[in-house]
């Protein structure tokens, strides 16, 4: 299936990482983090990025890589959740959309697998072996469908922040994205090798382990 729309949420403060820059602008290898995400999305026609914290810097950098991105502003980034950013970024999109967090490093091969696994009318979550400090664990059944989310370690897999929402609309309710998925379970899943950079520890782990960034 060809995915037409993608939304990257990059509005947040990144307070847990403690750098004076948005997480999507953290230097990784030769470029900044979001450069690699845009590379993964190069064949997707409509890319949106939700911006908030230091939006001018994010817009300036992204625009120099790809000028057809639609920037969606979330000026209340400091007091709103990621699900609200995703709501702003996707509320007018009629078809399905891919969503990824703007603070992720993803294996290109695995990402391609995820895209290829997506089907029309079918929601899909990207899961990853749990490793972040603040994981949302996901229990899966024998058909690899997500059946439960938890902050407790109920499995060795965590929700990666990557998903294809064929028919799930985000609401304005202020909570975590996974909480808006509870009444949609079970949801099909694909396992992806990726890193989310929430804390200095996450960043160190990613920089030590990744071999797919030049």
């Amino acid at each position: 299936m060809k995915i037409k729309n993608a939304v990257i949420c990059a509005a947040g403060f990144g307070s847990r990482l403690g750098l004076d820059m948005p997480k999507c602008l953290v230097p990784i290898g030769k470029h900044k983090l979001i450069y690699y995400l845009l590379g993964l999305l190069k064949d997707i026609e409509n890319v949106r990025i939700v911006v908030g914290y230091k939006e001018e810097e994010v817009i300036e950098y992204v625009k120099s890589i790809r000028n057809d991105v639609i920037f969606v502003r979330n000026p209340q980034y400091a007091s709103t959740s990621n699900s609200y950013s995703l709501y702003l970024g996707s509320k007018d999109i009629q078809d399905g959309f891919l969503t990824i967090d703007g603070d992720m490093i993803i294996s290109p091969d695995n990402f391609t697998n995820f895209i290829e696994a997506c089907n029309v009318g079918e929601n899909r979550l990207g899961l990853t072996p749990s490793k972040t400090d603040d994981a949302v664990f996901v229990a899966v059944n024998d058909n690899d469908e997500a059946v439960e989310f938890s902050r407790e370690k109920i499995s060795n897999l965590e929700w990666s922040g990557i998903a294809y929402f064929a028919n799930i609309k985000m609401s304005q309710v202020q909570n975590y994205v996974y909480e808006q998925l509870l009444d949609k379970l079970p949801i099909k899943t694909t396992t992806i090798d990726c890193f989310e950079i929430d804390t200095p520890n996450d960043l160190n782990l990613a920089l030590n382990e990744i071999d797919f960034i030049d």
Partner: protein
């Protein structure tokens, strides 16, 4: 179904060139008009003051000559097509003078418009009658529409953004001014993406 109106700035938004600098080439005042346009876009002098000065500088040119130049202005193809396909819901809201741009709007876009108005004696421009307050134009559009979407790039678009429901800062030929970005919901730099977004907003209800 909710009725949505799309209100576009003209210069540098629908047109791919600023109109007044183009006219000024005709009378060898390009440098002066460019400077004024530049500092106005940067918000260093108010649009009204700058516009009065620019009109004064260009008032010696016959209206018909200006119209000829204006009719040659390159329009953005994607935006023009959207406007033509949604004539009933689209409005051009421009600070430019009616006698200069109304022909271009009616012949190439075919939608309704709000503009500043000129005093003229046949082909001779005598001066400015009114300078459009874009916010007041939006008030009028609101009488017949439930949802207002505004698209612009300059300081004088702020008053129309303040009255709108969905605000798109559009940097087609230069960066939108920062104040306008701070009033906006979306920031877009590519006309194909802009039209994609407009189509989505149109079908949202």
């Amino acid at each position: 179904m909710k009725k949505t109106a799309f209100c576009f700035d003209l210069d540098g938004t629908v047109t791919k060139q600023e109109i007044l600098p183009l006219i000024s080439k005709k009378v060898g005042l390009h440098e002066e008009i460019n400077l004024l346009t530049d500092i106005t876009l940067k918000g260093l002098i108010p649009f009204e003051t700058s516009f009065k000065l620019r009109v004064k500088l260009l008032s010696s040119i016959a209206i018909s000559v200006v119209q000829e130049v204006v009719n040659e202005v390159v329009l953005d193809e994607n935006i023009t097509n959207f406007i033509k396909q949604n004539k009933e819901n689209c409005f051009i809201v421009t600070g430019n003078l009616d006698v200069w741009v109304s022909e271009l709007i009616s012949s190439k876009l075919g939608c309704q418009s709000f503009s500043s108005t000129a005093l003229h004696t046949e082909d001779k421009l005598d001066g400015i009658e009114t300078i459009l307050n874009k916010g007041k134009a939006i008030d009028k559009v609101k009488l017949n529409f439930d949802k207002i979407v505004t698209i612009g790039d300059s300081m004088n678009d702020c008053s129309m953004f303040e009255k709108a429901n969905v605000r798109i800062a559009y940097g087609g030929i230069h960066n939108p001014v920062n104040t306008l970005i701070k009033l906006s919901d979306y920031v877009v730099y590519n006309s194909k993406s802009l039209v994609e977004l407009l189509e989505n907003i149109k079908n949202e209800n």
